[in-house]
Every structure is written in structure tokens, then in C-alpha cells.
Symmetry: C2
Subunit: 274 residues, 2 copies
């Protein structure tokens, strides 16, 4: 099979705006787009190189920005995605923001304050490793905010993302959809591999025990916040290689759609004596 087109990847993975999204319809080990692992590797490699080239043009232009939002349960591969999709991308013009539990300074403001503060500057590519969606995911499941406050957040988030998209930001939102079984395998790996042990957090097991509640929170968030200006893509994440390949297609597509050209500063090169 050939490498699937960007359009095909989008069509398969998008959570269609205005339609209810049900997680049971999205197998975590789906191989429809990349049945062949080697092909996924080839595709990723090509896309990673393109992404770096396009990012350089975005940087030179300095007028727009790309924001990649990665959400998923622990071990779903947020860090791994960043490392692979941006394997060829040097850190110049990149901003990776890992959202952790909010600090007391952050808690003293509305939940979008720290998020807005972390958007990439124009010309840059920003990556959110977790994001404002935590405020309708873990916050909902664990009751960190009252139910009626959470209920208001979906439309607040939509308004915020619309604002960004109207101000030069292209947003690519990916839910890394890992299965319960696969998470168990990966958590066990963390316990036996010395270079993964540091990632093991006993608290992750608490989230694991609330799996159905988290899946429900994801369904609601994806259903209500997949919009025309900022759709959600749901990525089967049990296969790391395919996950990376699919997200690379989406990121490349977003950059290509920007129709980036080398910025012409409007100078007359002949008029300078050097």
C-alpha cells in the first residue's frame, strides 16, 4: 500500500465537528492508514524532514504560528511523539510546554491564563504536552472544579481557540488514543527498564483505575471542542511507529496549508555597498 495522503489521514482521524464522538468507534490498534510498519517509518522520515524545512519558512515569515496540542493518558506517547515527529527539527523557533499541576500563582488566575501565556510567539511552532484540556479532563474526573464551572469551559475553550485561529494561529489537536491493555504493558516496562523508571509515577495508577471516567471525559471534550477552526484528531496510539507517522502527516499538512514562502523583505539588493 502507498503512504496515505494527508487528506486521507485527516478524513480517517478527525472527530467531525458537530457530530458526537464515541471512543468505542476508534480502535486503539487501528492499522487502516498504515498497515505496513516499514511504510510508516518511511513516511515519518520524509515528513520530519519537510516539517523542518517548513518551520524555517514559518520562522522567517514571523507572522503566524503553529500550535500542536497533544493529549492522552499516561504512556500514550506524548513525549515520544515530540521526539519523533520533530526528530529533524532543531530547537530554534520551537517551544515545548509541558503542563503540570498548576502552581499557586497559576491557581490564583483563571485556568486559561497560564495557557495563553504559553502560546508560541509568531514565527514559532509550539507544542503543548498536555494543555487546557486537562481542565475538562482530570479536573472533571477528580472534581477539581465544580461541575457547573466545568460545563462552561467547553465553550470558553472554543472561544479561546477561535480567538487564536483568527489571530494567526493554526492549531492541531491530537488525542493519543491508547488502549487500557497497552497502557498496562507500558507501565510495566517503566518498572523494569532503568532508563524508563524515572517516568514511573505511582499516581498514574490512580488515573488508570479511573479509566472509564477518563474515557467519558475525553468523549465529551472531543465532541464539544472539535470545531471547524480547531478540530480534534483521534490517533490510534497502541503502535508507536504508526502513531508518529500519522501525527507527522497532520503536522506537515497544517504547515503546508499555510502556504509559506521565503519572506521577501522588499529590499533592493543592489542598493547596498558591502
Amino acid at each position: 500500500m502507498a503512504i496515505p495522503s494527508i487528506a486521507a489521514v485527516r478524513k480517517t482521524l478527525i472527530a467531525r465537528p458537530g457530530k458526537p464522538f464515541e471512543i468505542k468507534d476508534r480502535p486503539t490498534a487501528d492499522r487502516e492508514l498504515f498497515d505496513d510498519k516499514e511504510e510508516a517509518k518511511t513516511s515519518l522520515k520524509k515528513d520530519a524532514a519537510c516539517i523542518n524545512d517548513l518551520k524555517d519558512k514559518l520562522y522567517a515569515e514571523g507572522k503566524r504560528a503553529l500550535l500542536v496540542v497533544l493529549q492522552g493518558m499516561d504512556t500514550a506517547g506524548k513525549s515520544g511523539t515530540i521526539k519523533s515527529v520533530f526528530a529533524d527539527t532543531t530547537p530554534l523557533g520551537m517551544e515545548v510546554k509541558a503542563f503540570k499541576a498548576p502552581s499557586s500563582e497559576e491557581m490564583a488566575r483563571d485556568y486559561l491564563w497560564r495557557v495563553h501565556n504559553a502560546v508560541p510567539r509568531r514565527g514559532h511552532v509550539g507544542i503543548f504536552d498536555r494543555s487546557h484540556y486537562e481542565d475538562v479532563l482530570v479536573a472533571k474526573v477528580r472534581g477539581f472544579a465544580p461541575a457547573d464551572a466545568i460545563e462552561q469551559r467547553y465553550s470558553q475553550i472554543n472561544a479561546f481557540e477561535k480567538h487564536l485561529s483568527e489571530n494567526g494561529y493554526t492549531i492541531v489537536k491530537c488525542m493519543l488514543n491508547i488502549g487500557y491493555e497497552e497502557q498496562g504493558i507500558r507501565l510495566k516496562e517503566r518498572l523494569v527498564e532503568p532508563h524508563k523508571l524515572w517516568k514511573f509515577n505511582p499516581g498514574d495508577l490512580d488515573d488508570r483505575s479511573l479509566w472509564p471516567q477518563f474515557m467519558q471525559a475525553y468523549e465529551t471534550a472531543v465532541t464539544r471542542c472539535s470545531t471547524k477552526h480547531s478540530p480534534w484528531y483521534v490517533i490510534p496510539a497502541d503502535s508507536r511507529t504508526r502513531r508518529n507517522a500519522m501525527i507527522a502527516r497532520l503536522v506537515r499538512g497544517a504547515l503546508e496549508d499555510m502556504d509559506l514562502k521565503w519572506k521577501d523583505p522588499g529590499l533592493d539588493p543592489g542598493s547596498y555597498e558591502i
Copy 2:
């Protein structure tokens, strides 16, 4: 010739603390360390891979940080250095800060305020593309601050860097020492190559016309701010390949000196049921 050891690179390039540094003693096209260009490429490639591995351990540990300060005249290769030395380093855990003309908010504070605000978080590698040294370089040459205020800054900067180094920050400061002739060649390149034209800023020619004054400002800054805890390295920068190879050796050396191990979170892996 073999790839020079990290110790040899340091010894050759360091501006020795407490000794006057004279720029005329440092040929911009020096090839003592890497006479063979292919060898420089090989060395860079190996070091770039090591830097990525070490950075992952630094990230896992999360207790210390590396700050790489790049200074140099326009076209000296600050962006190119970042792209090459960190070619294998994915953006996770990297923070590149390009200092531009200060904003009005920044001007309303002391000159180190925005610098301190930009230091990388622990676990990260930060790169300053320009830095607080602009405040004793361009600020001095162009008279953006009174002479007596500038005079005080050297020891303020030393105190600031000492503070950082006592708080878990390793600092690697590199002056990219490009020659006047080579700068001329590169500025002309920018005018004829479409993918470089966006970088051409007519204002750079004004700085070029003040070359001797800038060199003198660099001599003073390097002499007075090369300290035991945060020495300056002066990199011959007329050859891009060799420049990258030398800086990669220094960055790798700084990370190796941290003696990074995979963090042991002190868990009993057998005690978890997954």
C-alpha cells in the same frame, strides 16, 4: 590528525580568567583544532548524538540545567550553531531564547530582569541567541546607557552568573569570532540567496561600520567576565563546519562533567500491581 579531546578544545579556546584577552591573538580562521574539514564533520556528528542522549538524562534528573550563551557579530553563525550542534536534539526540554531589542516592559526594569526570566527550567538545556552581554556590547558602542552604568555591569554580570552556577546552572559562553572580511562575504550572500534575504537587515551595516568599537567592547567583556565558574570560549568562526564542531565539543563536555545518571526515583518496582 585525530579529533581533538574536549580538554584540548577547552584549553585552546578559553579566555583564561584573570588574563587580559586580546582579539588579535585569536585568528578567526584558525584551524589548529580541526585542520581537516571531514574530521570536523565526523566529530560534530558524534557529539550531536551524545548531546541528545545526555540531555535526556538531564531532563529525567530535573535538578540542574545547562545554559549555552552565544554571542557574535551579525552572520557569525548563532542560528547555524544551534541548528548544527543540536541537530539530533529534539525540542523536548530545550529552550531557545533569542534576545532582541528590549520591549518597553523590559526597559522598565533593570537589564538582567528579562535575562533571569529566560533562564531554562531545571532539567532543560537553554540557549541564549544573544544575551545580557548585549548590555555591555551594543549598549556600550551605541551609548544606550551611561558609561558609568555600563562600567558597573561587568561585576553585576559576574555576580549573576555566579549565582546561577551556585544554583545548579552550568554555563557555556561562546563568542563566535568572525572576521570582518568573512562577514562581508556572508552579508553579500544574504542579498543574493532568496532563502537568506529575509535575514538581511540594513541596520547590520551600521554595526559593521563600527567594527573596531565592537571588537574593543568584546575584548573588555570577555576579559572582565571570563570567570572560573563561567569562562568565555572564543571560537574561530570563519569556517562554519569547524565552528560547529568546536562548540559541540564544549557542549558535550559541559554535559559530561555533570556526571548524569538515569534518575532513580527510589521505588520498589515489585510493589505495584498493574
